[in-house]
Amino acid sequence: MPDEGRVDDGVDTIEPIEIQEEMERSFLDYAMSVITARALPDARDGLKPVHRRILYGMYEGGLRPDRPHRKCASAVGDVMGKYHPHGDNAIYDALARMAQDFSLRYPLIDGHGNFGSPDPNDRPAAMRYTEARLAPLAMQMLGEIDEETVDATATYDGQNDEPIVLPARFPNLLVNGVNGIAVGMSTSIPPHNLREVIDAAVHVLDNPQATPDDLMAYVKGPDFPTGALLLGRAGLEEVYRTGRGSVKIRAVAEIEEGVRGDQRIVVSEVPYQTSVETIGQKIAELVNDRQIDGVRDVRNESSGDTVRLVIDLKRDANAQVVLNQLYKRTMMQNSFSVHMLALVDGVPRLLNLAAALSVYVGHQIDVVTRRSEHRLAVARRRAHIVEGLLRALDHIDEIIAIIRGSQDAAAARDSLMGEPFSFSEVQATHILDMQLRRLAQLEGQKLRDEQAELLARIGELEAILADESKLRAVIKEELVAIRDEFGDDRRTRVVFDPGDIDTLDLIEDEEVVVVLSHKGYVKAVTSDAFRSQGRGGRGVTGAKLRDEDYVEHLITTTAHSYLLFFSDRGRVYRIRAHEIPMKDRTARGTALVNLLALQQDERIQAIIDTRTYEDGAYLFFVTRGGVVKKTRMSEYDSSLRSGLIAINLKEGDELVRVVQTTGSDDIFMVSRGGMTIRFSENDVRPMGRATAGVRGCASRATTTASLAATLPATRR
């Protein structure tokens, strides 16, 4: 085997190469090319090369918003032939994605025809069917590209030029986001709301030292084209401070009650990059494998732009439990990993929110500076010509004499360039090209007007170029104009993560009134909604309820307080008061099953609020059968959203009252028959949480306890 140098093996020319050397070399070529020129976006315009080439190719090909749509195949062919020597499928996929309003928050291509749906089995029609042109917003990406705003480079075959970056007059990297897998690294940037990102960019223009936390005042979180809910702020802080992390997205689902008391879950928005079809199939799978109980049927009732997935539940199913299982086991809740990697000066860099925007602002300063320089040069050239024409008009008789006296055009030009006029060559040429109608009086005035205009323009541009604060003001003005023209409301709502401990920091601890009706409708109202009236006032409507419903529980508490809901079955559920949806004073409220994992026909008998589970406090339970139990309140201090046993009940017995006591109060118990008993609670020894309690009054079959009250020891 050859060791070194060239070896003549018969006829072949053979050089040896060590396998690791060839591997390293080839791998490095591939990896670096994919990283720097294929899979990662430029931080300035947020585009990968293929996207940039499609937009530029369509722009050059005249597929602009004011022209008719043309076949995607022609755009793809154009882009492939001139700029992007790769597969047509890859180009068409990239083009179609930019036209999908469910993929891009702000589509850059205006498509006509079937561009598919979020369902992975529903792909766009073939490119010979679909048509496309640039969307108006894409013109803001390309805007002013003809004014030398960005550098260009020769294309792969040297036949054309292509821009290495687009002017990107809005922060596309954050606005539309991007996904890409390179070698050894990948990027995943979620889409954002245009208004919010532009506001943040404006803030960076004014405050170049802005921190990610400052900018989070504007950027509330990703804004996905498919809406849905974003859970919790804790994840967001990490994402925007470091550039990596993950956020939880959850479908919008509501538990509805049918006329016959049956329940169903209706999903109206699903997380980004998943589909109703995928979720529906997954649920069906889970039901078939008996991994999920309580689902009777799944129906996809989506149509057009409306998403609607209906999950019918079995009669005995606990809707909240089923919903939580769906969140856990299907794409109805999904984690979106963020890794904001983009190319800065050709090198991949992990960008936090502030870095991403400051790269963008730097690019805009560059673009507007170059545009101003270009415009200044154009204006100066024109002003020079106009000045020559005006001077010629002032001395038109002498000029004509010179021209008439010249042998040919070249001689005439030379004479004009000589004494006494000393016109420049450009001026002389224009004077010779001047039409006779320029001699009219009004034409002269027009030229003078143009000159004044040009001089003003030159002054303006010189001022912008000389003063960076003026330049920044121009950028700001133009960004705001784009925001006002193209901005829209956020689609993804940022809500509190039930498991997010930082939630309380973000909620005002205001006083609220919680109202629960007999039929289980609950709402929270700010206490301000009930203004004080004099004694004997008429009062105001506290809730508009359906027929036969009435307010059963009313409790004033504070937003941060825990509310313990005790049910007739002896179970307890805990939530924070702020988790109850705030409603108008007159609203009916939400069904309690949306908040608590209540079982079929389970009723709430008591609501206790507490902030701290203070020491020495007890809960005193009374059942229909006259059994009482006393338990330390602290026994109930655990996360009880899915419910927990509060008291063990005998068969047929039910919980009727729960009161808070100090440990040495007197208890009054009243039976349905009107019999009352008073005893010191010292007579009842404290017991654990899941115990049955002791006899509270001599119960006879006909008398059942129905009320209980306490007399605090201090008032005895």
Binding site: M1, P2, G10, V11, D12, T13, I14, E15, P16, I17, E18, I19, Q20, E22, M23, E24, R25, S26, F27, L28, D29, Y30, A31, M32, S33, V34, I35, T36, A37, P49, H84, P85, Y156, D157, G158, V183, G184, M185
Partner: protein, 173 residues
């Protein structure tokens, strides 16, 4: 991976079995030439094929039966003379030698861009081709390179890329 149809065909064609069953004496060819496009995707395919050979048919590589074809990257027309150029360094040398003359350069994106006579002449015909013979000098180093580049450890791969980013030969579009 071994269920892949192309890989199956490859193993059958070589005829010496695979992995533990491999028997070098049964190899039907003593020159297995890898021929991929002269662009970065070609480089990628080459790394994948070399990994396959090294992991599954190591004896074939160690015996020096595996070669790499070197299709030209450029075609340079200097007046009436046509030259095929292997890399950018050679192209620059030719440009320097022929200063003042007009050189029309055409960059090959793939093997499919050449017609059969052209491909035969530049890459395949034994009289005019130039091959690289793959050798394994130090199995331990080779093993380590394969683990880093093709293994599951993304971190090691990234470190390698970052550490060697400057040595890259050419960047493709």
């Amino acid at each position: 991976m071994l269920r892949n149809e192309e890989i199956q065909t490859l193993i059958t064609a070589i005829g010496a079995g695979v992995a533990e069953d491999f028997d070098i004496s049964k190899a039907r060819y003593h020159k297995v030439v890898l021929m991929a496009d002269a662009d970065i995707d070609g480089s990628h395919i080459r790394t994948l094929l070399l990994t396959f050979f090294y992991r599954q048919l190591p004896e074939l590589v160690k015996s020096g039966y595996v070669y790499i074809a070197q299709p030209p990257l450029f075609r340079a027309d200097i007046g009436k003379e046509r030259r095929y150029v292997k890399d950018e360094a050679e192209l620059r040398r030719i440009e320097a030698e022929n200063e003042g003359r007009k050189i029309e350069v055409n960059r090959f994106k793939g093997l499919g861009e050449m017609d059969w006579q052209e491909l035969g002449h530049t890459t395949m015909a034994p009289e005019s081709r130039s091959l690289l013979q793959v050798s394994v000098e130090d199995a331990a180093i080779a093993d380590q390179v394969f683990s880093t580049l093709m293994g599951d450890d993304v971190e090691a791969r990234r470190t390698f890329i970052q550490g060697n980013a400057k040595d890259v030969r050419f960047l493709d579009i």
